[in-house]
Amino acid sequence: MRFLIVLIMASLLAAAVFAADRYAARQLLRADPDALPADAMLLRFAVRRGKPLFEARCAVCHGASGTGDPATGVPNLTDDDWLYGTGRPAEIERVIDYGIRSRNPKAWNLAIMPAYARPQPNPADKNIQPLSPRDIDDVIEFLMRRQGRQADPAAASRGAGLFTGHGGCYDCHSIDAKGDSAIGAPNLSDAITLYGDGSREALYMSIAYGRQGVCPAWINRAGAASIRELALYVYSISHPGAIQNGY
């Protein structure tokens, strides 16, 4: 008889855990993603489930800790510098859903760093013309000056003209070179670099040969709940104070 009682109690407990889990998952999906950081219980629930998903799907590029790799142009997800948007959970979720240059029609597909040392810097935009080697060097000096580093003043002035002139750099990176997170154009006036170590050589490689990193779209390969859990996990590693009471 005791065995029967234990069996029934265990079944009820398992059912209760399952039901609570389903309820939390449902609450998680129904909630406004941007409001979730304020809900400590749901956030902890999502982060707990998002971590293994991150390790299984995202860590292969972003690394297990999410710090990325400048050598391969994989962004650091643990800092507060966001290429796309401002780091809100809904924005992170959108990137996971549709990807970046993933060929999904709803992906962030607009911004491509042209290869200015190639005859056709951006095959999708015939208006962008190549630059000469000296032009590229001048633009690099301009960027050095924008970052407060030592630069050749004459070359930097010429570079400024190119940046806002026929180089067309301003079109994505904006006039002040601070980038545009609405299209994923990085801020070029700070010390954070997506590719390389910020040296002249690394900048030359980016300007001369272009960049177009890809983040895949997961919308058709992961459930909505998994994507939200992943988004909140990424949010949590970039906002270490988000989870109170110690996760």
């Binding site: 129904r30 809904a90 000296r134 895949p216 909505a224």
Partner: protein
């Protein structure tokens, strides 16, 4: 011979001295009431689970809108993610800051779109509308290629791809070359020996005497592709192999005799794997996508029944 029916016997053991329980509570005794109750409970649990699965599972849900969706239109879900994205795009607000009217308007628009899409399928608009056909082709290609886009190739595979296509990953060459052009009549007077020719073209009075001039085709340092466009194929081919400080032999073209004075020539340099890796990943993926598209198309062709008119066979 008599048939004896076995009747369960409860073996009383030394420890079995506790008070008697009701038969349904004692697992060692058969109880019809208990069997019935447990069977009924099992049936009930089974029905609840089946009903839950039937009415909540994605794509078969009939009564409950799944949590990841905001509506079902003829059982076709409207995704919550799409709803939030549209809300943000149209009004620049998230769900908690959207007004009731904004929420309803967006939902209503999405339901309307879904209804028209479903009607479009019924009418088979893809048969006549080239835009719809193009969009369908793109969507199916994307679907086919999804595996290649989503999966991350291994370093070994990337390295092998790089080694196989190493010639793709080179820097663009840079040259600074002066192109001097002389009339054909000056050809006999141009020195044939390289050093003497170099001295001659760098001596302005000599150049003037021979009616020579800088063609102006090149300006300072140029990438190879730009120099090729400016100089033309023939002159560029001659310039490409000149070392720093070298001059070409006189080259006769329809517009005169050209002498190239190479001031600086940086030949293309192969990139190492680390420098080329981002491009290698992109090229590897593109190749995988093309391969998948091609095999997807082959599969569709194999299973299709295509009849071609006699005159076009």
């Amino acid at each position: 011979m008599s048939i004896q029916f076995h009747t369960p016997v409860r073996f009383k053991m030394a420890t079995d001295q506790r008070p008697e329980h009701a038969p349904w509570r004692d697992p060692s005794q058969i109880s019809h009431a208990r069997s019935f109750v447990l069977m009924a409970a099992g049936v009930l649990i089974g029905l609840v689970l089946a009903g839950y699965s039937l009415f909540t599972a994605r794509s078969v849900s009939t009564l409950i809108v799944p949590a990841e969706d905001v509506a079902l239109v003829n059982q076709q879900p409207i995704s919550r993610a799409d709803y939030l994205a549209l809300l943000q795009t149209l009004y620049g607000v998230d769900l908690s800051h959207a007004t009731r009217e904004q929420r309803h308007k967006v939902l209503d628009d999405m339901i309307r779109e879904e209804l028209f899409v479903q009607r479009g399928k019924e009418l088979d608009v893809a048969a006549t509308d080239p835009d719809v056909r193009g969009a369908l082709v793109n969507a199916v290609e994307l679907e086919i290629a999804e595996n290649a886009i989503t999966s991350q190739p291994s370093e070994a595979a990337l390295r092998q791809f790089f080694e196989t296509h190493e010639d793709r990953y080179v820097s663009e060459g840079v040259m600074r070359v002066r192109d001097l052009v002389f009339p054909v009549s000056a050809l006999p007077e141009l020195p044939s020996e390289a050093q003497a020719l170099k001295r001659a073209i760098n001596d302005p009075p000599t150049v003037a005497r021979l009616n020579g001039r800088d063609s102006g085709k090149t300006k300072g340092e140029e990438f190879y592709f730009a120099a090729k466009i400016h100089l033309g194929d023939e002159l560029f081919a001659a310039a490409r192999d000149l070392g720093n400080g070298a001059v070409s032999k006189p080259i006769q073209t329809p517009d005169g005799i050209h002498v190239l004075d190479m001031q600086q020539n940086k030949q293309p340099v192969p990139f190492g794997y680390a420098a080329a890796r981002p491009q290698v990943v992109s090229d590897y993926r593109n190749q995988a996508v093309d391969r998948l598209k091609s095999s997807g198309e082959s599969f569709l062709r194999r299973r299709a029944n295509v009849l071609i008119a006699d005159d076009l066979r």
